[in-house]
């Protein structure tokens, strides 16, 4: 019987193919591990791709020091349980300057603690390929992103210099100093990610599941008060509400949604009925409407 595999099987096989291509073609690849659900899926695929060998690609977490505490706990738990090396990088200069999303705003915080930190880490270790969990369905300008996305020596993304990608043939040649960002989940949707997590029983950070949490309503978003660095503005007050997170980032920049979905199955059911898009809760994505494209040109992942 020549049975056509289902869409998750097809997506899984495609991602594994891409990961193997990375390992075979680059001198020093790394996987960017952001602790979120996409990273969990990516890590799962990484281990599948090279089974029974240990994955030949280490993990790198760029820590802005403003992640949810539960994220860091989850990261350390994962690192202890698996056979893949995890590197953590913090922008020490930024830390010394005390860069904070609460004081300096989301743009400056992201520039210094995320974008610049990532460049530092890639340069420091000499990584020539960085695998990430971005998906094309996340945002309009990502719809045209390549699976193998080329960056100049300055890590800049030039839409005109991207290479055509035909079939499953990837041109992996780069000059010394250039690097590539690779997105094995390019063709996955948010729904695919959750269905796959359910099917494969992949652990994710508990913040994705609804629970009573202390939140503050700020600029139309529900921000969780995760530690005592959070300073209340006048008129703000902390409430306990049933919330969960659709995406995870720095806690002061990540809006929660009100929800009662406390299992993967319930999340999928809620999403099927949902009428808002995934990145809506991300404070940094809002306007100007092509801002993601600008951030990418500057080297944001």
């Amino acid at each position: 019987m020549n049975q056509r595999p289902g869409h998750l099987d097809e997506l899984e096989a495609e991602s594994i193919h891409i990961l193997r291509e990375v390992a075979a073609s680059f001198q020093k690849p790394v996987m960017l591990y952001s602790i979120g659900k996409d990273s969990s899926v990516l890590l799962h695929l990484l281990r599948k791709a090279f089974y029974p060998a240990r994955p030949p690609i280490p993990l790198l977490h760029v820590d802005t020091t403003w992640k949810f505490r539960e994220m860091i706990a989850f990261r350390d738990q994962v690192a202890a349980a698996i056979d893949v090396r995890l590197l953590v990088h913090v922008n020490k200069d930024g830390l010394r300057q005390g860069i904070s999303p609460l004081v300096h705003g989301s743009t400056m915080h992201t520039d210094i603690m995320k974008t610049a930190a990532l460049k530092q880490a890639l340069n420091k270790h000499g990584f020539d390929a960085a695998v990430g969990g971005a998906r094309r369905d996340e945002e309009k300008s990502r719809a045209k992103e390549r699976v193998f996305s080329f960056r100049s020596i300055q890590h800049r993304w030039d839409p005109k210099r991207q290479r055509p990608e035909l079939w499953n043939l990837y041109n992996t040649h780069i000059h010394k100093g250039e690097n590539v960002r690779v997105f094995p989940l390019s063709n996955w949707t948010e729904m695919d990610v959750w269905q796959y997590i359910q099917l494969e029983c992949i652990p994710v950070v508990p913040l994705y599941f609804a629970k009573e949490r202390p939140v503050v309503e700020r600029d139309g978003a529900l921000i969780m008060v995760d530690d005592d660095r959070f300073v209340l503005r006048e008129g703000e007050r902390v409430e306990r509400r049933m919330v969960r997170f659709r995406t995870l980032g720095c806690y002061p920049l990540t809006g929660a949604i009100e929800s009662c979905a406390s299992t993967v199955g319930e999340i999928i059911a809620e999403m099927a009925a949902s009428r808002s898009s995934e990145r809506q809760g991300r404070v940094i994505d809002h306007d100007p409407s092509a801002s993601m494209e600008q951030k990418k040109q500057e080297g944001y992942f």
Binding site: A53, D137, P159, Q162, Q195
Partner: protein, 618 residues
């Protein structure tokens, strides 16, 4: 592999062809809207954008959903390929949204390579246009065999059935000509959603399926070979006890115990295990990413193909193939490129362009080069044999890309058609006396000194003195001068870029023969292009090839003008003159860099002789 489940459904990948004028973006946006795939916040953003761009109207401009990049939104055209994801109650979809203009043929080819089906849009007011033919041709070239013909803007022709019928029958004829085996036509009005997600009230005469229904039910058999094939991507060797070959199966099925052959080659083995992280399988098929172990030790590396031993793939090093040129610089015959096919990368040259195809009319035209977005039918020559199949049989073993060896850009994609008989009938004759023996009898190590530089730089003068010196010391030498070769072997070549490439190729091959004969060869050719010098270098063994850059500034060469050529070039009497109206690409890391000005010729020859002699008379 993940186990099948209700959440694991069929995935249809399709491409939409048409230009902005046809309402393609509107149709796609409408399709997503009707399928209930647009979240509220996106609809709200769309409403804002629509009002900003069309302050006079309240209607949603669905085309704004599709155009992602800033530059494109400003120009109002879709330049790149955008991928969109949606699902209906019955199926998941990936749609490649591609620009339709002729200058974006490469983008359409890219999109088509990821599609099982094409939706071709035609404006009901205009009927079949040149672009309809072009889009259909490119889809057919990339192997798409099934088309949904959407006759759009029916509202602007009063929902006329006659107009629809005449377009439908004209397209049916075109599809047959171009090799599209199945066409499903339907009339739509994308702006209002007629027959997109719901049946149209304006066209009661159409009782067929809506676009969404057609996409949900289209039976799609992607092109795939019947015989087992798997290009090896990665050799999995965690320790001495395990050696597996990881790859994605691109043809047929494989079972444990099956006999396979490692191609190119004749080594055979049987499949011991089919390993996956979810446990071993008894069998696996097309599209599955697996790791295979064999029952005996055979040498297998990345790039080789594991194939059904009873029905192996063909092997060849010369092919006829369709090439779609995607580079900004034109394709020049005989220039070297890297070819990636399956998981293998080899050196390739296009030896001749048999003809180029007018993408609008499919007329075959004579051509000496291919420009960006042109399609040609070419002969391709590789430096080694590969396992392959015709693209129509197995797109993974027949589809390839060409990569520029300097810029590393992807400059072409192509579809292998068949192997040229020469590859199997011209055999390499193995000889008893080899290069080493020939060189030993002359008491020297053979070398190729490749002098490159502008006309009048002093290449021949220096090489001439050097040959006299070496000859006096008893070395066996030959000075191969570019001008002299053009009197004989290369008499048929002019000075266009194509001819220069061929000129250098022939000189390099002759130098290679002479080095094989054990000689020290001094080559003097301008050889203005880096890629040809790299080609020449590639013919020689390690350390045999010494690039000598005679670096005399243009002003000095022009002042000397020993042959009066610069004067003629400046006067416009000769064209394509290096340094004047044809470029010279400076060597990046020559073995020897001669800044000839202000240094005596004697000193230069001393330096060169010192570089050659210790090993030459060793």
């Amino acid at each position: 592999m993940a186990a099948p489940s209700s959440s694991n459904r069929e995935l249809l990948r399709f491409i939409t062809c048409g230009s902005v004028d046809d309402g393609k973006s509107t149709l796609l946006g409408r399709l997503l809207y009707d399928a209930g795939m647009l979240p509220d916040d996106q609809i709200e953003a769309l409403r804002r954008d629509s009002r900003r761009i069309h302050p006079e109207s309240d209607a949603l401009d669905f085309s704004l959903l599709m155009d992602g990049l800033d530059a494109e939104r400003q120009q109002g055209i879709t330049i790149d390929v955008a991928y969109r994801y949606f699902h209906s109650a019955r199926r998941n979809f990936v749609v490649a949204d591609c620009p339709g203009h002729e200058q974006y043929t490469r983008n359409m080819a890219t999109g088509a390579s990821h599609a099982d089906l094409a939706v071709v849009l035609v404006d009901a007011r205009k009927g079949l246009l040149v672009q309809t033919r072009r889009h259909t041709y490119i889809c057919a070239l990339l192997g798409i065999r099934k088309v949904i013909l959407a006759v759009n803007k029916m509202d602007l022709v009063d929902y006329s059935r006659d107009i629809y019928e005449s377009i439908r029958s004209a397209y049916a004829e075109l599809a047959v000509q171009l090799g599209i085996s199945e066409v499903s036509p339907l009339p739509v009005a994308a702006l209002w959603g007629d027959n997109v997600g719901a049946h149209s009230l304006g066209m009661p005469w159409y009782s067929g399926s809506t676009l969404l229904e057609l996409l949900e039910t289209a039976e799609v058999r992607p092109m795939e070979g019947a015989d087992f094939r798997m290009p090896v991507q990665w050799v999995n060797r965690p320790d001495q006890s395990f050696r597996g070959y990881a790859g994605t199966i691109c043809g047929g099925r494989v079972r444990t115990g099956d006999e396979i052959v490692v191609q190119p080659g004749t080594h055979r083995a049987r499949i011991a295990r089919i390993v996956t992280a979810d446990g071993d399988l008894n069998e696996a098929g097309v599209g599955q990413a697996v790791t295979l172990t064999l029952d005996r030790e055979v040498d297998v590396s990345r790039g080789e193909v594991l194939a059904d031993a009873a029905r192996p793939a063909q092997e060849a090093d010369q092919f006829a193939a369709h090439v779609i040129w995607m580079g900004d610089e034109p394709l020049l015959p005989n220039r070297g490129y890297w070819m990636k096919v399956g998981s293998r990368t080899v050196n390739a040259r296009v030896t001749s362009i048999k003809y180029k195809v007018d993408v609008n009319t499919q007329a075959k035209l004579a051509a000496h080069r291919l420009e960006l977005n042109e399609v040609g039918y070419c002969n391709i020559d590789l430096d080694q044999s590969i396992a392959f199949e015709a693209y129509a049989t197995n797109p993974i073993l027949g589809g390839f890309i060409l990569v520029d060896r300097q810029s590393y850009a992807t400059v072409a994609c192509g579809m292998l058609d068949f192997s040229l008989r020469r590859a199997t009938s011209v055999h390499w004759q193995h000889l008893d006396v080899d290069k080493r023996m020939r060189a030993q009898s002359k008491g020297q190590l053979p070398r190729c000194l490749w002098f490159t530089g502008l006309s009048g730089a002093g290449k021949s003068t220096i090489a001439n003195l050097l040959e006299r010196r070496l000859s006096a010391l008893g070395c066996h030498t030959y000075l191969l001068d570019g001008d002299n070769v053009r009197h004989g072997l290369n008499r048929d070549l002019g000075f266009t870029p194509e001819a220069r490439v061929e000129n250098v190729r022939r000189v390099a091959e002759v130098a290679h023969l002479m080095v094989d004969a054990g000689l020290i060869v001094l080559v003097c050719v301008i050889s203005p292009f880096r890629s040809e010098r790299e080609f020449a270098r590639g013919l020689f063994g390690d350390g045999e090839f010494l690039e000598v850059f005679v670096d005399t500034p243009l002003e000095e060469c022009e002042r000397r003008d020993p042959k009066g050529l610069y004067r003629k070039a400046r006067a416009g009497e000769i064209s394509n003159f290096t340094g004047i109206d044809s470029p010279y690409e400076t060597p990046e890391s020559p073995e020897i860099h001669l800044k000839a000005q202000g240094v005596s010729l004697e000193a230069i020859v001393d330096e060169l002789a010192a570089r050659v002699l210790p090993s030459a008379v060793g």
